[in-house]
């Protein structure tokens, strides 16, 4: 329901909250789902985590005052919710269902269908990210979502230099785990 102030119809706080939430979800549901997949292996757990993050955002929307950009605010909430949920699920022992090492990566030369290879490569990447420490995982996923070092700094609280160092280390680690990976940006 809308309110009327001096003859002008303005959205009520609840309407504005709903509209903001719907817009955020429309814009960020895929990044949020990818973030959930970077924390949890099980598809159902990932879906539950997406809902947890959505709930945290719904509760946080009225508190958003624009002190930081909407994007960095959203990712902070999403990652912090994810880490809490992941700790709970890992405590229940669900982590034991995930493999110790990223799955074997088939090479194109083996003659598999291209889309199957891509799917397995994606799963390999996700598994490699899931095994990283929380901060490294957060930095890498934010970087892969296209956030700048400054934005990552706002979210993590680390300095830009520390972020650059960690990203470089993660690239090396990915390379060490993946025979096809060349490491440097081309």
């Amino acid at each position: 329901m809308n309110d009327t102030v001096e003859g002008i119809v303005v959205p009520s706080a609840e309407t504005a909250r709903r509209e903001t939430f719907l817009r955020l979800m429309a814009e960020y549901r895929r990044p949020i789902a990818r973030l959930a997949a970077a924390y949890l292996h099980d598809a159902q757990d990932q879906e539950d985590l997406v809902q947890e993050i959505a709930l945290a955002l719904w509760q946080a929307v009225p508190r958003f005052r624009g002190d930081s950009s909407e994007r960095t605010w959203l990712y902070r909430i999403a990652h912090n919710t994810a880490i809490t949920a992941a700790a709970k699920i890992r405590r229940r022992g669900k982590v034991e269902t995930t493999p110790e090492e990223p799955p074997e990566l088939p090479s194109a030369a083996e003659g598999h269908e291209e889309n199957l290879i891509q799917a397995q490569r994606r799963e390999w990447l996700l598994e490699a990210i899931r095994q990283m420490p929380a901060m490294d995982r957060q930095i890498l996923t934010l970087h892969l979502e296209g956030l700048s070092h400054r934005e990552i700094q706002e979210i993590t609280g680390l300095s830009e230099a520390a972020i650059a160092t960690r990203l470089s280390r993660q690239r090396d680690r990915l390379g060490a785990k993946h025979p096809e990976y060349e490491g440097n940006r081309t």
Partner: protein, 200 residues
């Protein structure tokens, strides 16, 4: 494979939940939010009502009691009811989880502190929740035992009552300190393990 391909692989990922409709998510979170608010409100009502009911019942018994020692014992139990309700409202349910709008290091520190607060609350259950009414009961029990012995009556019922009361209190103690606190300890350890070596 190079870094550009890694970035492309990431962006191509469409995990479960990625295509959830925003309207459907809004419906789900609205329901969960309402349910959560109801649960918190109901828990608060239950805690206060439980404490006040104990206070009212034992306060009435204390008021009606002609024996001074029995009256003191029941008065202690009644006061415990009020004390527990106030303590729970002040330190229990009112404990707010940390705001997720903080950077990872700060959030993890706040979360860890919140877990620590919950563990301390559970580990102190024996002092703030169990000890006050138990002391009141011991006063009532001691007086009953003394009177029965003086009258040459069987003390079996008094001892059975004490055993039952002690067993119930022991169960509450074990559930809170052993099961509840261990559960949160494990959460705290898991969080520590996930963020090991992290600092800004």
């Amino acid at each position: 494979m190079n870094w550009n391909e890694v970035e492309a692989l990431w962006k191509e990922s469409v995990p479960k939940g990625a295509d959830a409709s925003p309207a459907k998510l809004l419906e789900v979170v609205s329901q969960r939010s309402r349910k959560f608010r109801r649960q918190v409100a109901w828990r608060n009502v239950r805690e206060v009502a439980g404490g006040l009911a104990v206070a009212a019942i034992f306060g009435w018994f204390a008021f009606r009691q002609t024996d001074a020692v029995q009256s003191v014992g029941m008065g202690v139990i009644a006061a415990s009811g009020v004390w527990i309700a106030v303590y729970l409202l002040k330190f229990g349910s009112s404990g707010k989880p940390p705001d997720p709008d903080a950077d990872l290091s700060t959030y993890c520190r706040l979360l860890s502190e919140d877990y620590g607060r919950q563990v301390r609350l559970l580990r102190r259950v024996k002092y703030w929740y169990l000890l006050p009414p138990y002391l009141g009961y011991l006063i009532v029990f001691g007086d009953s035992l003394h009177r029965r012995l003086a009258a040459g009556q069987s003390t079996f019922a008094a001892w059975a009552g004490l055993a039952w009361f002690t067993a119930v209190f022991a169960a509450v103690w074990i559930l809170n300190e052993w099961y509840g606190a261990r559960h949160i300890d494990q959460l705290q350890n898991e969080l520590r393990r996930m963020t090991e070596g992290e600092s800004a």
